[in-house]
Amino acid sequence: MKKKFNLWFVIPLLAFVGLVAFMAIGLTRDPHLVPSPLINRPAPNFLLPQLHAPGKTFSPADLKGQVWLLNVWASWCVSCREEHPVLLRFSRTHAVPMVGLDYKDQAPDAQKWLSDYGDPYTLTAVDADGRVGIDYGVYGVPETYVIDKTGVIRYKQIGPITPEALQQTILPLIAELKK
């Protein structure tokens, strides 16, 4: 006699497949990428000395009316080396100003780093004690913020800017914001 197929026995299998699907999605996500609450909020203001001209200061207000990038880096940061060629290539396009925020670094080390590997920055502000980094929610350099003409943070890249991130996300966003 042919037994009637019992649907109930399929349920554990379906539940298992569902669980595996959830875990598989989880594996593709990086738990270190914490979404920033600062997206679409005004960039915190600050006033910091410049690396190459300690007498001069920089404040985000100086770039009001322009789209610009704030790239947080340090000479002790290993991933910053990885990102550096991308930044250099980007700076050669002169698309928008890119300000470096030298985070918890020693000025001589930072200056040597930029002269050794090339300086992609319009200017570099010095955040020696990391206080401005706290305001920007920096938790792992390098981090990059795209700031629009009204001074609002529109995007945050956590970790090095990859060529893909630059081409697919940052450059289109800049083009749109510049309109």
């Binding site: 109930w8 979404p35 920033s36 609450p37 600062l38 206080r131 305001d135 938790y139």
Partner: protein, 151 residues
């Protein structure tokens, strides 16, 4: 050195007592509050450590910042808000109840309800396929006989 000289020198030793360890913080009240707040927060660098326990550089800086804010007379809630506005709800070990966290807070109860529902459905289904069939008089007699035979 000659052994007798060693012995001679040993005669001139005197006991030295260690002092009780001084608390690391100058202000114990501030430190207590700092620990209370920092234990509620996640260190963003080592995500499985609290801000109070982490030795990461950033945790050090954030503790210093919280300490400064406590000295300025900010309330625990104000310090918490300061942190959340910069690092997001992720820094809190107890995320707030709001639409984006409903699934997190109520998901387990939803699963419980679904589980109980599924169990009830299974039991009802089982009752339906095994209906209460009374024994035939013959079977009844047989059963009684078996029971009587029990020592």
């Amino acid at each position: 050195m000659k052994p007798w000289l060693w012995l001679l020198l040993l005669c001139f030793t005197w006991p030295v007592h260690a002092n009780e360890a001084k608390p690391l913080a100058d202000d114990e009240v501030v430190e207590q509050r700092l620990i209370k707040i920092a234990e509620e927060m996640r260190c963003l660098v080592c995500q499985n450590e609290s801000l109070a326990g982490s030795r990461a550089d950033l945790a050090e800086d954030l503790r210093r910042e919280i300490r400064a804010q406590i000295r300025q007379g900010k309330s625990d809630q104000e310090v918490m808000d300061f942190m959340v506005s910069r690092y997001g709800d992720f820094v809190r070990y107890r995320p707030p109840v709001k639409p984006t966290t409903w699934l997190l807070w109520f998901g387990p109860f939803l699963l419980l309800v679904l589980g109980v529902g599924a169990l009830a459905a299974v039991l009802r289904h089982r009752n339906r396929i095994a209906p209460d069939s009374p024994l035939t008089p013959e079977q009844k007699k047989q059963a009684e006989a078996l029971l009587r035979d029990q020592p």
